[in-house]
């Protein structure tokens, strides 16, 4: 979401949706606080898709919506993250520090942080999530 026009896509191309360096300003702005949108941290190996931006504010009430809207901002990133409608096996999604286990429909709060990190796995199956 653009911090200026509060649209999912910054149609006026004001560029204010680029969060690097101004996240704190957005969060501390009493007008914008409470109507914020989730912050997505872009992993280093995906920053070629984000114009080297490290964090983006992306609208969405669920992980699925955030990723769909992220795709509009960073074309190609959805295919990097998802396969067959699920997060790829080697990738974990963390929402406010909590690893996603309940699917892409999981709700995210307006002030949530989303991270995409390598899944920690022993390599056998989902029961071995952290070993």
């Amino acid at each position: 979401m653009c911090c200026q026009c509060l649209q999912a896509k910054c149609w006026s191309n004001c560029g204010r949706n680029r969060l690097d360096g101004n996240l704190r300003q957005v969060r501390s702005n009493p007008v914008l606080r409470g109507v914020g949108v989730p912050t997505v941290w872009i992993p280093p190996l995906m920053r070629s898709l984000s114009g080297n931006r490290t964090q983006l504010e992306i609208a969405g009430e669920s992980v699925r919506e955030v990723i769909e809207n992220l795709e509009a901002e960073c074309p190609g990133i959805k295919d990097r993250l998802l396969a067959e409608g699920r997060v790829k096996p080697g990738i974990a999604v963390a929402i406010d520090g909590v690893i996603l286990t309940k699917g892409l429909g999981t709700k995210v709060a307006p002030d949530s942080e989303l991270h995409f990190v390598p899944a920690i796995s022993g390599g056998s199956d989902s029961t071995v999530a952290l070993l």
């Binding site: 190996l45 990097r80 390598p118 920690i120 056998s124 029961t127």
Partner: protein
């Protein structure tokens, strides 16, 4: 400040329910299974580290009298790519078209006795096209290296790179600005480290018995860390629904992560089916265990860190290249979470590589990847503190992470106890005690493990005498029957001895994740708490009926239900309810979204013989944030066990391979693990910073203690001799090499 809750049972040290059986030899382990008409299985293993299987002729083996079945990889279903990890597990269980390490399973035989099975295995003719082996990450990542899996492509967080490779995956964590971070430093230290492949070293070899019945049902008895994990792996490898598979977990003689993957269970099942539905038992030898199970990764690690003269870390850059063995799946992702965890860093980059080599497929080992990672980073941290003339613990405390600080991957820490643990270490008498020998040294190292929550189920019935039969699905490795029973008893406000805990099969309790990730006492304990609440509600309702009042008027305290002057004990309600109504049963489940991580700090004193290079551990103190210690003896035991394993990793243990890739030390005589004669009593200090999202504040505690020992020993060695070691193990020969390489 809120006072700590007062508990009746939690924090006490009652006997474990399984203790008598285990010390009298009555406990039934994997190899104790005996069934009518049971056959004995044996696995034929590859003598080559890397070879293509040209052909397998089993006819002579099948013709041997007493042989009932022979199975090869061709007898396992070919798995589709979408279950890639399990395809690799399947090929690890019985090789497909290639063998990828010395000891790789090639065929299984079932016969009337073990001798006949072994003889028949010797009659199987395998023609190999021997290929050059790749034995470490340096060789494997080099241009032109022999390729283990021709269809493997490097995955970079969802992007698949072109070209054949031995690098299964590469990832990077990055925050801040490395260049400016290092520019702000007064001192920058960069070091490279190499660590050997090591094994978990559990006492009990793998053993499984399987019956593939004529009705299509498969029943397995095995030593496993997770009956449900064994069921799901077997289900996928054999392409049979979980509804047709029952796994009965036996007692387990150690696992440490190595008994999470299945090795012999699917082979025993296939042999059972081919042998006319007779049960087949396969028990590994010690050599089989060392050659073909475990191990955890050898590694190459490069650490560069910068600090200012006032002791503030400014930047860190780390490269982790971990051996995966013959198939992808090293613990390098978790290593990346450990390597810099204790330190607040604004400028950081961590690269991780999962690299195939011709060694057994890596399996989890207690804080997977953490020991080697912390060995490297804690050595550099120690060197930085020394270079600026600062006490190593004060340096760590000055840079310690707190709640809200971000990890290398950007995710902030929750409620942690790193600072509390460090402060406790600084104040501990051990740290102030003078050393009194010329070649003695003291070292410290910090360690972290993120732990895991997972899912657990328990169920229980209240008997007429007020006792409670508790059923759980968590394999009891470290005393979890007791720790789970204690949490249920605490919740029910009844004596611990009134709870009878049993570990049961996959058909007798709800789904429960494996015992690992330091999760069992926390998550299964949370399920037991929820079960206790459910039982309390039902008991309250029944008490209200007996007292002819409404449940809302009934209170429960100290094991007694009260209402308007009427009183009934828990046991009285159980007895009268049994006579007057339906049985009282309940279930409890838990699947926490968040769980408590654990930090530790270790202090070690050692003495080195400069003539032989041999290290003697003189004193060892392990301090750890354990959350609420449910059964302190078992928490201490976990810490002592982790330290013992970590010291073995530090100074003795390693897989030794010949140039041809053949393992040279597949026995416990030559693979040197520490014994009680090698170690002093490990002192433990439990720092109880409760995890707020657990009803009793429990954190996992079993894995963190293996993380710091190698770093602590390396730092103590430097204190003793002025020698910085960059290899594991720091065996006598390597210590001498490093000592002799020092300038005069």
């Amino acid at each position: 400040m809120t006072a700590s809750p007062q508990y009746r049972i939690l924090g006490s040290r009652p006997p474990r329910p399984d203790g008598v059986d285990k010390v009298t030899g009555r406990a039934v382990y994997g190899n104790d299974t005996r069934l009518p008409a049971m056959l004995y299985g044996h696995i034929l293993r590859s003598p080559h580290a890397h070879a293509r299987i040209v052909s397998i002729d089993t006819s002579r083996a099948e013709a041997l009298p007493g042989v009932y079945a022979v199975a090869t990889g061709a007898d396992l279903p070919q798995l589709a790519d979408r279950v890639e990890d399990l395809r690799y597990t399947s090929n690890n269980v019985l090789a497909d078209d290639k063998v990828l390490y010395d000891g790789h399973a090639v065929a299984g035989v079932a016969a009337v006795d073990l001798g006949t099975a072994e003889e028949a295995a010797g009659l199987i003719e395998v023609i190999y096209e021997v290929l050059p082996p790749v034995m470490d990450v340096h060789q494997a990542m080099a241009d032109g290296a022999p390729i283990l899996l021709s269809d493997l492509r490097t995955d970079e967080l969802g992007e698949v790179l072109e070209g054949e490779t031995n690098i299964a995956s590469h990832f990077r964590h990055e925050r801040g600005d490395l260049e400016s971070g290092f520019a702000a430093a007064d001192i920058v230290i960069e070091r490279e480290f190499n660590t050997a492949t090591v094994h978990q070293g559990y006492v009990e070899p793998h053993a499984a018995t399987a019956l593939w019945n004529a009705d299509g049902r498969i029943t397995i008895w095995c030593s496993t860390q997770g009956a449900f994990a064994a069921r799901s792996q077997t289900s996928i490898i054999l392409q049979q629904p979980v509804s047709k598979i029952t796994v009965n977990p036996t007692e387990i003689g150690g696992g440490f992560g190595g008994k999470i993957p299945v090795y012999v269970e699917p082979v025993a099942a296939v042999l059972s089916k081919k042998a006319g539905h007779r049960p087949v038992k396969i028990a590994m030898s010690r050599a089989d265990v060392i050659k073909a199970t475990g191990p955890t990764s050898g590694s190459y690690i490069k650490v560069k860190m910068g600090a200012t003269n006032d002791g503030t870390l400014t930047a860190a850059k780390v490269v982790l290249a971990y051996e995966a063995g013959g198939y992808p799946g090293s613990p390098v992702p978790s290593a990346s979470g450990v390597v810099l965890a204790p330190y607040k860093l604004d400028n950081v980059q961590v690269d991780g590589y999962d690299v195939l080599v011709n060694k057994p497929k890596a399996s989890p080992y207690r804080a997977p990847g953490g020991t080697n990672a912390a060995f490297a980073s804690e050595s550099v941290v120690d060197e930085l503190a020394s270079a600026i003339g600062m006490d190593p613990l004060e340096f760590r405390l000055q840079n310690a992470v707190a709640e809200g600080d971000r990890q290398a991957n950007g995710i902030p820490f929750g409620r942690i106890g790193c600072i509390e643990t460090l402060q406790t270490a600084i104040d501990h008498p051990h740290y102030a005690t003078p050393l009194d020998g010329k070649f003695q040294g003291r070292g410290v190292a910090a360690g972290y493990w993120m732990n895991w929550g997972g899912k657990s189920s328990v169920s229980a019935s209240v008997n007429a005498d007020g006792s409670v039969s508790l059923l759980e699905g968590s394999t009891d490795i470290g005393g979890s029957r007791a720790s789970i029973a204690m949490q249920l008893a605490e919740t029910l406000d009844i004596p611990y001895e009134q709870v009878n805990a049993q570990v049961v099969s996959t058909d007798q309790v709800g789904y429960t994740d494996l015992t690992g990730g330091s999760r069992t006492t926390a998550t299964t304990g949370m399920a037991a708490y929820n079960l206790g609440q459910n039982l309390r509600a039902e008991m309250t309702r029944r008490a209200a009926e007996l007292m002819e009042t409404e449940p809302e008027t009934v209170t429960y305290e100290n094991g007694v239900f009260s209402s308007n002057g009427s009183r009934l004990s828990f046991n009285e309600v159980a007895e009268q309810a049994d006579a007057s109504g339906a049985p009282i049963v309940g279930t409890g489940t838990a699947a926490p979204d968040q769980w408590g991580a654990a930090f530790g700090l270790h202090i070690v004193d050692l003495e080195v013989d400069p003539e032989t290079g041999k290290i003697e551990i003189l004193r060892y103190t392990a301090l750890q944030n354990v959350g609420k210690a449910i059964h302190p003896s078992y928490v201490e035991g976990q810490m002592q066990g982790g330290v013992a394993q970590g010291i073995g990793w530090a100074i003795n243990e390693e897989y030794v391979y010949g140039d041809d890739g053949k393992l040279l030390n597949a026995s416990l005589l030559d693979y040197r693990m520490p014994t009680s004669l090698d170690l002093p009593m490990i002192e433990t200090v439990l720092v109880e910073v409760p995890w707020p999202d657990h009803p009793y504040g429990v954190r996992g505690c079993g894995e963190t203690p293996i993380v710091p020992p190698a770093g602590a020993v390396a730092n103590a060695l430097n204190d003793a001799l002025g020698v910085r070691m960059n290899v594991l193990p720091m065996s006598p020969g390597k210590v001498l090499e490093q000592l002799w390489a020092q300038p005069a």
